[in-house]
Symmetry: C2
Subunit: 308 residues, 2 copies
Amino acid sequence: MIAKLTLIGLGLIGSSIARAAKRGGLAGEITGHARTAATRAKALELGFCDRVCESAAEAAAGADLVILCVPVGVCGAVAAEIGPALKPGAIVSDVGSVKVSLIADVAPHLPDCVHFVPAHPIAGTEHSGPESGFAELFDGRWCILTPLAGADAEPVERLQAFWEGLGARIDRMEPAHHDLVLAVTSHVPHVIAYTMVGVADHLRRVTGSEVIKFSAAGFRDFTRIAASDPTMWRDVFLNNRAATLDILGRFTEELFMLQRAIRMGDGDYLHDYFSHTREIRRGIIEAGQDTPAADFGRRGSGGQDPGE
Amino acid sequence: MIAKLTLIGLGLIGSSIARAAKRGGLAGEITGHARTAATRAKALELGFCDRVCESAAEAAAGADLVILCVPVGVCGAVAAEIGPALKPGAIVSDVGSVKVSLIADVAPHLPDCVHFVPAHPIAGTEHSGPESGFAELFDGRWCILTPLAGADAEPVERLQAFWEGLGARIDRMEPAHHDLVLAVTSHVPHVIAYTMVGVADHLRRVTGSEVIKFSAAGFRDFTRIAASDPTMWRDVFLNNRAATLDILGRFTEELFMLQRAIRMGDGDYLHDYFSHTREIRRGIIEAGQDTPAADFGRRGSGGQDPGE
């Protein structure tokens, strides 16, 4: 139980934490701050915060747990702003998709009397803003904690219990290892999806509306993650540059191998490759990280209505 | 109404056509052929065919409409086999994802007294085999007809009415234009998804099971289409080589632009790019070609069960 919880940033993730904390009765009072007056008003209207403050420092003052739910690129500035207002013994955490650079940006601004425990919930949708959050977002999803070397055990365990209360499963990792794993599972898939959608957009000028009309043939699966928040993703790439470029290099090598097999007509190579990738999908479904329903369960989901 | 419908190939697409034809009362009798005895037995057990034959020629004899639902690479051989058995006036069609090479493979084997009308339904799931088909697969999806130059209008219209009866919307296109549009919306997205899944698989050896565990961060969206039928996709790439390599070249150029922006730290370029791709997603949803539900409606779909 956290007597006073403060969320800096009230978009998809921040508002979902607030909703899940209310659902689980995990916090006595929830205070929020958002940069824009429109988001602050929306948060009060939707009711997931008990109190909303105009400044981050005011919101953080006296809190037992402060979670930064803002794009990775502004976490350093927010830490500098709230640092002097923090209560001794408070836990400061975040939800950033990048850890090494975020720790380097945030840690120097925090007083020694608080506990900084970085965290990253592996959950989200393609939507953003306070109205897109929901209490179930973290149910059954992973949250990775990357405690700093020499961190006290007790605040790390308190944060872990909080995330478990939000519905998440917990893993712990070195910050640099986190950044490599996320480059593979998230950052490079996003670059590639953005690229493919960009290419299709150029060709839309050649093919009229056909790219959109016939997107059910495969392309549409890429467009979901390429619709994610632009500011968040800009910051991810700028802050996990080395790992992203490393994995992108591997991707390009591999793509050239497949491209060459197509050009040379090497059917056996292609068939072997495609048989193998099928198994990975099975692993993900067995691990409970995706729905086994055909077509993501789109059948009957409204997207296939003949009348649309 | 087709008095006698024959389906050569009883996998996802063939068995779905049979089921949708029964649902709509579009055919008097449905005859099927599959290469393996196991699939033929399964088809009879599931009951979507009235009759199943051991040879394609026997199945096609006397049919008013014969649809080849086999991988693109074997359509030529199947046409050679059934050609002599076809009834004068019969319509021969297909469901292949590639049109130019398929027409070149099939047309020479068909007698002048039959009508060849190539078609391609833009529908499917990542599953294959006769048990994966369902009657609603084509509802609201597009089916592209690519009639040959100088084709009679009447058989093309009969085939169009048949596909409308299966639930599809119809478009018509030149074969070469079809192959370009599909390279963008389907073939290149599949190469890229296969590549990304292959890269992640290599790294799985470095990261243990983490690639699968944290796949919800974006990677899992690629794995669905990378789980599609290996034989079908090998044949697609070998038969739409030029358009696939052309679009892959554009993709690589574009990827290098984004990669350079990441390396150079060009945040404005990235932000602009990512804002633009978001709009394409909106277009696809407005066109009724995907579900607007967050996360493909995975919420509550079973894949996010905390207990899994």
